[in-house]
Structure formats: structure tokens, C-alpha cells
């Protein structure tokens, strides 16, 4: 299956990050056009594909993860303020026949992303 998917993991607590707002944007010239907003489910994934195979185009995409609000909303949020601002991941689809899984591993002080599978 081609398209884009994501998965948000709270590596501070060692569990999926549920309820994280994610905004998908596509690059159009010099600007980013917001396409849709999603919320991660209990497994840290979106209920549907971020971008379905039929909608995938060669181009640049952006996922903004609202990790700041997520960490602040947790009942066990620590006293420290997050160092990482809302994580923004920009990446390109270079071959629409391939799938692009783009996970985010996050803590208040760090984040990691990569082309996953």
C-alpha cells in the first residue's frame, strides 16, 4: 500500500501518544497549504491513512505534531517545560508507488523521526 502513515510514541512514558493533534500540509510554491487535521487514537495512530494511496503525489509534505499540548495535558506532566516546540516534520514523496511511514518518537526534551515501515 502506498501513501503516508504516521505513529506517535511517547518514549518518555513508553507508550503510544494518544490524542495528539496532527496537521497535514502540502507545499505549493513557497507556501504550505493545510490539508487536514487528525487526532491520534489510543494506539498513537490515525484512524485512516494520512494520505491514501490514490491521493499520493510526488511533492513535499509537512506533518505538524502538537506535542506541546499533549505533554501539558498529561496528568503526570512534570514540572519541566518542554524544550521541543511542536515538532514539524517535512519530507518528500519521490515515488508514489512506495509507502511513506513517518513515525515520531517524542519526549518533552527530544524528538526523533525517520522513514519507517
Amino acid at each position: 500500500m502506498a501513501g503516508i502513515s504516521t505513529h506517535v510514541l511517547d518514549t518518555d512514558r513508553g507508550r503510544p501518544a494518544a490524542g495528539v493533534k496532527i496537521e497535514l500540509s502540502v507545499r505549493e510554491g513557497e507556501t504550505w497549504r493545510m490539508v487536514k487535521t487528525m487526532i491520534t487514537n489510543a494506539d498513537g495512530r490515525t484512524d485512516g491513512p494520512v494520505v491514501a494511496a490514490a491521493d499520493a503525489r510526488v511533492g513535499e509534505y509537512q506533518l505538524e505534531f502538537h506535542t506541546d499540548a499533549y505533554f501539558r495535558s498529561l496528568p503526570d506532566a512534570g514540572a519541566g517545560e518542554p524544550f521541543v516546540d511542536n515538532a514539524v516534520v517535512r519530507f518528500a514523496i519521490f515515488d508514489v508507488k512506495q509507502h511513506y511511514h513517518v513515525p515520531l518518537l517524542c519526549t518533552p526534551g527530544s524528538c526523533t523521526t525517520y522513514r519507517g515501515s
Binding site: 517545560e81 524544550f83 521541543v84 514539524v88 519530507f91 519521490f94 527530544s110 526523533t112 523521526t113 522513514r115
Partner: protein, 178 residues
């Protein structure tokens, strides 16, 4: 070059090669560059990403923002990485400066220090695509990662902030370091 000579050169370069520095502070060591005369003749010219220095500690330095780019694809410092530092103003980012990392993977100067070190929301836009293309890494077009935004917040300017970025053509990680 064998591993032992690299290690020895690194130690000499960082200032651990003689007792002359016994009274020097860690700060001074962190600023010291490798003395050219200490290195044996090197047949290969240094190129971006060649590992020649040992780690340095920034403990005890005044509050500032520093960064370190580490190339996890080649296993070297991320030398020659172009980075645009901006601060958020309303809904946009205003460019403060553009820096290029030195052979250590660090810019030669702090990103922000003294009166320039202000609280705020920052973005460091890193030119991944240009970096790997300059090293002749074969990548798709457009590459998976091109211009990568690293966003972080400085809240307390009384604290030193270090921002390491570990990267490859297919992923990256950043965190509040030390």
C-alpha cells in the same frame, strides 16, 4: 589511518597531549583547535565530515545556545551543514543568522550568547539535501529530507542550552543536550 593514531591525534588535538595544560580550564580546552604541527603528515586532505577531534565539554560556560550536527550516515561530525536560525514572531519566523558547521560539526561561534540570547520559540532550518549531495551521496529527487526544521523553545536564558542533531538522509533526532 589506523584507529590508534586517530585516537592519539585526537587527544593531542584536544590539548591532552602534554602537562603544559595541567592548569588549563575545561573552557579553554573546549576552545582549543588542533595544533597543525602535532598531526603527522596526512596524505588525504581533510574533507567535510572527517573525524579529527575528541569530544569537548561545555560545562561551566555562560548561558548560551550551541549546536552540534552529527552525521549518523557516515559516522562523523556533520561538517559544512548550513543552518538558518530564526525566531518566531507571531505566525512567522524571522531569520537571525545563517551558520555553517565547522569540521567539528559545531559552528565556530555560539548560535546565541550574551544579549543575543533571548527567550523565545526558535527554528533551526538545516540543509540536509545540500549536505548529502556535497558528499556525493546518491539520493532520490526530491530527497525524503530536504530542508529540515528543528523547532525548540528557550524559556530560561539563565541556563546554557545545547542542541545536538543526529541525522542521516532518512531520519533525524534532536534533544536538549549538555
Amino acid at each position: 589511518m589506523d584507529r590508534h593514531s586517530l585516537t592519539r591525534r585526537s587527544l593531542v588535538g584536544a590539548g591532552f597531549g602534554g602537562a603544559v595544560l595541567a592548569g588549563a580550564t575545561t573552557d579553554a580546552l573546549a576552545q582549543a583547535g588542533p595544533p597543525q604541527t602535532a598531526a603527522p603528515p596526512n596524505p588525504a586532505p581533510p574533507k567535510p565530515g572527517t573525524l579529527t577531534t575528541a569530544p569537548s565539554s561545555q560545562a561551566g560556560l555562560s548561558p548560551r545556545l550551541t549546536m552540534h550536527a552529527i552525521d549518523n550516515f557516515h559516522g562523523t561530525p556533520g561538517a559544512g551543514m548550513v543552518c538558518d536560525l530564526s525566531i518566531r514572531e507571531g505566525d512567522t519566523y524571522r531569520l537571525i543568522k545563517t551558520v555553517t558547521t565547522s569540521p567539528t560539526g559545531r559552528p565556530t561561534e555560539p548560535l546565541l550568547v550574551d544579549e543575543a540570547f533571548k527567550a523565545g520559540r526558535y527554528e533551526l532550518l538545516m540543509h540536509f539535501d545540500a549536505y548529502f549531495r556535497a558528499l556525493d551521496v546518491k539520493l532520490p529527487t526530491p530527497n525524503f529530507l530536504g530542508l529540515v526544521p528543528v523547532r525548540f523553545v528557550i524559556r530560561d536564558v539563565g541556563q546554557r542550552h545545547h542542541l545536538p542533531i543526529l541525522f542521516s538522509p532518512w531520519g533525524y533526532s534532536y534533544y536538549r543536550g549538555s
